[in-house]
């Protein structure tokens, strides 16, 4: 699972946000970093790092259901993926797709009434069959989580240093001073200036971006093997988001950890993830290398999603996906995307397609007609709205 080489391409599909002049500049330009020595790399962020070979996390056929007054909400229906060291898996989906719930299941954070089936293996050991004790020792230590809103994820009445130290002490026995020293080291690592003084600050004394850095510090302080980041930058400004994502990559490489990055922002996934998993109605509908998924989608939902984002070159009408996601209680037969799919046929309405290899063995899609997508030069064109077609 290696990342393809990232030499600047001759043709940048979609164009960059700068417009024509800047595109050329990007290709010609190189960074000089005095602190790193004279060697130049095309971009500091060009590679999201190479992927290790050891398998860290394996999720097989995970399903999660929530019993409610109206019936069983099947929030996750069969998610499977594997994660290797230093790999970044981006899980993309809109509301109701089940992306957050599946990761909460991995962390063991779902409420008691939730019904979970399937296998979640960490380094070969099945988490779901472990005792509560063992699960707790894994959680926070080997598998850590970064939440969307750092303000509510941290306790407002304790200092940041105390909470960081607590994270260490709940998994290792060491003198408090040592724990505090490690906390300070972590704060420095995530780029918080004057870490020694900031140990005594409270969460509300930090700005949003700084708080999220503290969250990252809390997640990595115990050398985790897997970091689950649930919409880590959604609540942040775009300039701060860039810093945080960069920091996340650095930290991942420093600790040899893998990241599961859950987000609805396709741009973030494009830049950060080695592989992308697209979820719809509780199920994965496409899984593959990020470039394959973005440039050659094999599931109409992915194509629709990509096509609905405005791009620099195209000033025509946008292409929404009409309709709404189905109810997770009363799922219709067949493919859940069929009511909204421009490629729908009868078989789609009766038989739910499996997530199966498409034209490449590591590019999986859940669609009966992926070959039509493969054959089309522009898969997003299927979603052209009527009024656009009229023009």
């Amino acid at each position: 699972m290696t990342v393809p080489p990232t030499t600047p391409p001759d043709d940048v599909p979609g164009g960059s946000i700068y417009g024509p002049a800047a595109e050329q500049a990007t290709e010609l330009f190189q960074v000089y970093e005095p602190s790193e020595g004279a060697e130049l790399a095309p971009s500091r962020r060009s590679s999201v790092g190479s992927v290790g070979s050891v398998e860290v996390l394996k999720v097989e056929n995970l399903t999660v259901g929530f019993p409610t007054e109206d019936g069983l909400v099947r929030a996750v229906r069969g998610v499977s993926y594997t994660l290797h060291e230093r790999e970044v898996l981006g899980i993309v989906g809109e509301s109701g797709s089940g992306k957050s719930v599946s990761s909460m299941a991995v962390m063991g954070l779902l409420p008691k009434g939730a019904r979970i089936t399937g296998n979640i293996s960490f380094r070969g050991r099945n988490i779901l069959s472990m005792s509560k004790q063992e699960q707790r020792s894994l959680r926070g230590r080997k598998i850590a989580m970064i939440f969307q809103d750092p303000m509510t994820a941290m306790n407002p009445v304790y200092t940041v240093g105390f909470q960081l130290a607590e994270a260490v002490l709940s998994h290792e026995v060491m003198p408090k001073k040592a724990a505090m020293a490690r906390a300070e080291e972590m704060l420095g690592l995530v780029g918080i200036p004057q870490p020694k003084e900031r140990l005594n600050s409270y969460p509300h004394e930090f700005s949003g971006g700084m708080r999220q850095r503290v969250m990252i510090a809390m997640a990595v302080i115990n050398n985790p093997d897997v970091i689950i980041a649930d919409e880590p930058t959604t609540a942040l400004d775009v300039t701060v988001q860039a810093q945080i994502l960069e920091k996340l990559i650095e930290v991942k490489d420093a600790f040899n950890a893998a990241i599961v990055l859950i987000t609805h922002d396709l741009g973030v996934v494009a830049g950060m993830a080695h592989r992308t998993l697209v979820m719809y109605a509780g199920r994965p509908v496409e899984l593959g290398n990020t470039e394959d998924v973005f440039y050659s989608p094999r599931m109409p939902y992915t194509a629709g999603l990509l096509g609905s984002i405005p791009s620099a070159g195209d000033t025509g009408r946008l292409r929404p996906i009409t309709g709404a996601p189905p109810s997770l209680i009363n799922l219709p037969d067949g493919c859940p995307f069929s009511p909204r799919c421009p490629l729908v046929t009868d078989v789609c309405r009766t038989v739910e397609p499996e997530l199966a290899p498409t034209d490449a063995p590591d590019h999986l899609g859940a669609c009966h007609h992926w070959d039509r997508l493969a054959a089309a030069p522009d898969p997003t064109a299927f979603f052209r709205t009527e009024s656009e077609a009229r023009r």
Binding site: S35, T239, A324
Partner: protein, 384 residues
Amino acid sequence: MSAPTVPSPPSYEHLLDVHDLVMEFPVKGGGIFRKVVGKVQAVSGVTMHLDAGETLGVVGESGCGKSTTGRAILQLHKPTSGSVKLRGAELTTMSNEDLRAVRRNLQIVFQDPYASLNPKMPVNDIIGEALKIHGLWEQDGLDRVAGLLKLVGLSPEHGNRYPHEFSGGQRQRIGIARALALEPEVLILDEPVSALDVSVQAGVVNLLEDLQDTLGLAYFFIAHDLSIVRHISDRIAVMYLGKIVETGSRDAVYGDPKHPYTVALLSAAPEADPHSERSRERIMLTGDVPSPLNPPSGCRFRTRCWKAQDLCAAEEPPPIDHGGGHLVACHFPVTDISAETASAAIHAAKLGSSSPESPAAAASRETAAAAARDSGGGLSGGEG
């Protein structure tokens, strides 16, 4: 529908004219009587205009004051000072009576589709309320509401349902229908699609564009998503910490950005394109936006700007026209983006908060941070 009953001077240059708008909020201390201990300026002298049928996109990050500007224009917050003119009539000094009449011409669409509709009112009432308030319900209120629902792509049969029965995109359409009930000329849209799923955003944006074509609406489009703004706007205004740093036509601002903040903003925005994402150079701004309680002297962006010099701290840069209405408030505007990206990277490396921690870098980071602390007034890269 007759024109609104606001007496207007014989001629005016722009449909909506905002000049030097300032919005201050008092900061109250504790104690029994909660005296005012200070002021925070959310908007510090904003000048912009909007013409009929055009869309002005207003972008900026949190704390820049774009939402407050929208509400101040609408007089939902009373501006501390400055002028807001709609069709030449000054809104800030108007009586409540006249203002109510003006509201028929100037409406707002809110960001949160879940909070902007009263959960206890059926949709017909929500949209019809506008008509009831202004005495227009009697004639054919229900028909007009049905017409509005159709206009935004919803079915009038669902008019007696409650908001919680609709999806986010549908609720936002209801909000748009409500804003259009009084047939305004100007719509202020405060992040109208930010809270919606990506695939739904496109539908609502299409709707807004169609409505603009058929009804001739002018949009004051506040957003933080740069690609949506680029798609819908004719002109752009970039705000930072209560001030406008750059204004211009859409092509000018996106194609030839001149203010360092604009350049950094455009650089930071992610694109759904793996190749371009991984090969492009990003300008990493250091630190977070300073607190509006204590903005930097001179140019407010100087604490995060890699080009900052003494002049920037001493003197606030005035907006200068670089041709064709492209106004830039910077002493050292950007001319060559690639060169800027290089200097930005060097600057960031010096401050050390975004380069990997090699031993040499660590040592230099400490000294650089100390130096930056002393010279930059303590606001570089670590404002709590």
